[in-house]
Assembly symmetry: D2
């Protein structure tokens, strides 16, 4: 986990279903929450990205459910971010309980789209420089975000 | 119920919570579904209203939970629509199970907002004429929608 | 706000709709979050209540939408809790933006139901004593939670 | 599509986000809807399965977003069902607009879990016989569900 960034989410009551644990669709919200908190931590809130005319829709996602998440569980989310080609961003996620057990792993791929034209575009400079700065950090500290 | 309009919604699995019935927040979605189906039936889909530059946000809602709704229940929704002043639309809803028992009653008040300015505006002509035509129908047939 | 309890919620991207602000159904989740955080703060997490065989379904709610909540807004939620008769709990909520402007006010009434029988029951002792202890606190400090 | 089964879902307003189309998490609900409608059509509603003591949690899902789904779009969902080993059920989905264009493809894998013990179990006889009967149908009619 990147210097001091700890992404935690608490499973809400509304997130459960009658099986007695969190419904699989709600994990998707936890992943979204995690990646925008990561962007915020890196100094580039997703809100700012949209205000600069770029949307980042999810184009692909894979979710693997290992153990259930129960109401009120406090979940830690690890994530790893990578540029894929010139126009895609890949996030890998691990969700852990308070005992460090892996509950869930996932991957999402996001595209970049111009808000004005709704057409795909290349990764904005602000994001690629954030990622390169971030790679430096990683190599310097030998850690995985 | 207006000549031939029957609004039915089936409670989805994702709508339940660990109490074993539909979570109270999901009723709000059923009400939204019901009012847009009513507009569609009246020949003025909400999509068309938005395409004509008008948004209709909810400004007030009251929900009364009488009996639980369970997964897979098929619910009938009755609604009554009234103009309130020059700029608000009031919907009253009744949700019934297949035995005709009242499960839920609700009221929502919607405003009219110009999409371009995000400022409140008066009821659009298309909607007020739809409602007056609809009042005629009601008086002619002596029915409550 | 009760000594040190600050309930804050950040509007998630998934909570918005195509009007460009938070969909009215999602406020219901913010209210739920606020009341369970209040119970946690008071030393009686809702999870514990359920583990002791009591469910607390919402039986009535009223929501008044004053100003929109936008994506990524950080919202402060004030709440006031009162016992209503012997079997209902009433919560009044105020949602404020970072400038202290009221965005939303709401009221929810919750019943107590035995998990085993799904029948209504009186307020559990743990909750009434929590509330009476809490009233003492209020009178002592002359504050509104 | 199996003799007469047409699974259609209409994109709800609440399903959209501020990008102006359906949020990626809501596709997960459409898939759930489709598979339970398929079970209902085959004479074995998922509700009945749960009433017989079996839960079917999703253990893996993959979603590929091809084109956006907009508010009020009427989507057709095709699905293909296969038993995987003795204890998993795989669904492949295709979501199409009214012009027959593929908007989305997905795959979900479901396990079987005993409600009483919350432990995994083999595919229940009722489901395997439904699937074998269904394979006969397929070979007889040479169609893909």
């Amino acid at each position: 986990m990147e210097d001091g960034l700890e992404i935690k989410v608490r499973a809400a009551y509304v997130d459960t279903d009658q099986m007695g644990f969190v419904h699989h669709s709600n994990y998707v919200k936890y992943l979204e929450y995690a990646r925008w908190e990561w962007f915020r931590f890196m100094g580039l809130p997703y809100k700012t990205i949209e205000e600069n005319g770029i949307l980042m829709p999810v184009v692909d996602m894979q979710l693997h459910f290992v153990k259930p998440i129960y109401y009120d569980d406090l979940i830690s989310i690890d994530l790893e971010v990578k540029l894929v080609g010139a126009a895609r961003l890949k996030f890998d996620y691990g969700l852990y309980n308070e005992h460090g057990q892996l509950l869930h792993s996932a991957q999402t791929i996001l595209a970049f789209v111009k808000k004005s034209t709704k057409r795909p575009c290349r990764v904005p400079d602000a994001i690629s420089s954030l990622l390169s700065q971030f790679d430096l950090k990683i190599s310097a500290f030998s850690i995985t975000v």
